[in-house]
């Protein structure tokens, strides 16, 4: 019905307001059905990666942390940096779904669902790492304050404890947010599903009928959780940053770390959103919903955050450079010139230089370029986390402990496996739940129409008796 011009790179409107509600349901529900070969291949790859991770963990459990080639000065390495990386990924969803929801940026509506899913799954991925990096994994639950008659409690001064609290809280609330936001769509799925899906959706949709009272409660709850989630998200990554900022190690003991980490988190999150945006649009034929103008907006957002991150980065460097904390300065210089310098400069290139490509419209409108660009942005952000953890440990204060260390195979296996685990969860999600919010897209379309046509109609009927486009669309059978 709507001409293909809307799907080309010249498209200007966020969404074609003439799109029929029925077709929205149809498109989204279709995306949840009969997976094609590509899907199974992707799933197989993810599962394999995850399997490797499990093997590595079992090996490490049997032989001890030495398998990861950690040593007396490098007690942490990729595990913690990847943990920070995934925590960072988790912030995008909150940004899109909660923050933009509060500021009524309605272009978020077609894309926030998978972003929110990404939040949840990357949190579930991140949560793995603090556990597997423990020397005695089997005692991980000791960090939780639970009642024992030994009268033992965790050390509430330790940032790791704060981590445990923050992450669990954040995970719970983001799951809630994702789920509650999905309820109306689950109802739609329920009405169109059969078999086990029917039962599943019937249970999950909590008897949603879409009457006004339900909508009122729904809106209110959704808003509340959104408000609750935003400070939580900020605090979570601030706390993660305190794992480092609270220590006395040169290069870690930095006051600007909390905002720096939050910015970095949003940054990597947005980059990841671009990646998934393009993949979903391409594979699920979501051209009508995940349109170029929206992509364009996401890109601009990414660029802004990238600049904030770069700024904070430079602030940190400057504060070290002009301060007289010699060990910190040594660490900074070592980052730029030492054995890890390639990765440092890689981080700077991908993290601070590459974003400028987003200034060009043709880049923002070219899926293929953008896809790889977004991948490299994320590589840059992963390197950033690594460059925070390792160079500091390779120098520190005591010369006897100066040494360079390269991660062992178990570490690489776990890092790769974490992507497998994430991909696995996400692939399951897109086939079981609608990864585009149907009801909100409908709202979007509806509002756009209102704002555009209603007044036009009035004018036209007022001055010339010609029926306006609204009438046309109604004839062409919308809702």
């Amino acid at each position: 019905m709507s001409d293909q011009k809307h799907l080309t790179q010249e498209q200007t409107k966020d969404i074609d307001e003439n799109i029929a509600w029925a077709s929205i349901n149809a498109d989204v529900l279709r995306s949840m059905e009969n997976p094609r070969r590509g899907y199974w291949v992707a799933m197989a790859v993810s599962v394999c990666l995850f399997g490797i991770m499990i093997y590595a963990e079992v090996y490490q459990y049997m032989y001890g942390m030495g398998a990861a080639l950690l040593n007396t000065s490098h007690m942490w390495d990729l595990y913690i940096s990847t943990f920070v990386f995934w925590i960072g990924m988790s912030h995008s969803g909150t940004l899109l779904s909660a923050i933009l929801h509060l500021v009524h940026a309605d272009w978020r509506k077609p894309i926030y669902r998978f972003a929110e899913a990404m939040t949840t799954f990357s949190l579930m991925t991140a949560g793995i790492f603090p556990v597997i990096h423990l020397g005695r994994v089997w005692n991980f639950y000791w960090v939780m304050p639970y009642m024992t008659d030994r009268g033992l409690w965790p050390n509430f001064r330790s940032p790791l404890i704060w981590d445990a609290f923050a992450i669990t809280a954040y995970l719970t609330s983001s799951v809630l947010f994702l789920y509650i936001g999905m309820i109306p769509d689950l109802a739609i799925c329920r009405d169109n599903a059969k078999g086990w899906r029917k039962t599943l959706y019937s249970w999950l949709s909590l008897g949603w009928r879409g009457d006004d009272r339900q909508w009122r409660n729904f809106r209110f709850t959704y808003l509340m959780i959104a408000c609750f989630l935003i400070p939580l998200a900020v605090s979570v990554h601030s706390i993660v940053s305190m794992d480092f900022a609270m220590s006395i190690m040169p290069g870690w003991h930095v006051t600007t770390f909390p905002p720096y980490f939050v910015a970095g988190a949003l940054y990597s999150g947005c980059a990841a959103i671009i990646t998934l945006f393009i993949l979903l649009r391409y594979f699920f034929k979501f051209e009508h919903y995940m349109t170029f103008p929206i992509l364009d907006k996401v890109c601009k957002l990414t660029f802004v955050i990238a600049m904030v991150w770069t700024y904070l980065n430079l602030v940190e460097f400057a504060s070290v450079w002009y301060g007289h904390d010699i060990p910190s300065k040594e660490v900074l210089i070592a980052k730029a010139t030492g054995p890890y310098s390639p990765f440092f400069w890689g981080m700077m290139t991908f993290g601070s230089v590459l974003p400028f490509s987003l200034l060009f419209k043709w880049v923002r409108r070219n899926m293929y370029v953008l896809f790889f660009a977004s991948i490299f942005l994320n590589v840059g952000m992963w390197l950033e986390r690594w460059m925070i953890v390792t160079p500091t440990l390779s120098l520190g204060y005591h010369p006897q402990a100066f040494n360079v260390m390269w991660p062992g195979w178990t570490e690489w296996a776990m890092v790769g496996g974490s992507f497998g685990w994430f991909g696995m969860l996400f692939l399951i999600f897109v086939k079981v739940f609608p990864c585009v919010s149907m009801y909100e897209v409908k709202e979007m379309v509806f509002h756009r129409k209102r704002t555009i046509y209603d007044d036009v109609d009035e004018m036209m009927t007022l001055h010339s008796g010609v029926p306006g486009p609204k009438a046309q669309t109604q004839n062409s059978g919308g809702a």
């Binding site: 009642m147 024992t148 008659d149 030994r150 009268g151 009457d211």
Partner: protein
């Protein structure tokens, strides 16, 4: 249509809350049971410890029956004959470990007493063949726990004005239960960390970890 809708029962917030609380309580309780390994059935012997000025945890433990090379009966020796614990476990007051009495000590009596009993014959035979019986350890704590009999006896028995050496059984009973009632030795107290901690709290024992864990 709309009327029915409005008649629909509201969501049972209260019930949900109550359920949540109950579940939480169960979890906490479960954790406790798991931690202190409380065994529902007691050993059936009330620990009879009368130590003035000392309050000690009363929970009991049903230890398994540990087979011993010689069926030595504490009930007979300590209970009926009233031999003092420290007569045999003489190292208890001088060392971390209470120790098993040397065979010579047994033979001190059993060269004349009850030489016809089969168990005693076993003992005599071992003694003559110069080998010491391989006793199975009954009361054991993990190897990272360093418990000192010496210090505890000192505090509760010798430094306690109201106590006299003949009250040793009461002091021992604080952690070993009333051995006068059992035959072959059995573990009758949990001897878990919680068990120790409660006693230390009640009796102003040290709370510093390194007192026990080194």
């Amino acid at each position: 249509m709309s009327i029915e809708r409005n008649k629909r029962k509201p969501f049972p917030w209260v019930k949900t809350a109550v359920a949540a609380v109950v579940v939480g309580a169960l979890i906490v309780l479960g954790a406790q049971v798991f931690e202190r390994q409380l065994h529902p059935e007691s050993a059936g012997i009330a620990p009879a410890a009368r130590v003035p000025g000392a309050e000690f945890p009363t929970d009991t433990f049903k230890g398994k029956d540990v087979p011993q090379p010689i069926n030595y009966s504490h009930k007979l020796h300590a209970g009926d004959l009233g031999i003092n614990c420290l007569y045999c476990h003489t190292y208890a007051r001088r060392s971390k470990v209470a120790g098993i009495p040397p065979t010579a000590k047994c033979m001190g009596c059993h060269t004349v007493v009850g030489t016809d009993k089969p168990e005693i014959e076993k003992l005599t035979q071992m003694w003559q063949s110069n080998q010491s019986p391989a006793w199975n350890k009954v009361n054991d704590v993990p190897d990272f726990v360093h418990f000192s009999h010496e210090r505890h006896l000192q505090k509760f028995l010798f430094d306690n004005p109201e106590m006299d050496i003949k009250n040793a059984p009461d002091v021992c009973a604080m952690c070993h239960g009333d051995m006068n009632q059992v035959g072959v030795a059995k573990k009758m107290k949990p001897l878990t960390m919680g068990f120790c901690i409660r006693c230390h709290e009640n009796n102003q024992g040290p709370s510093d970890c390194t007192r026990c864990h080194k």
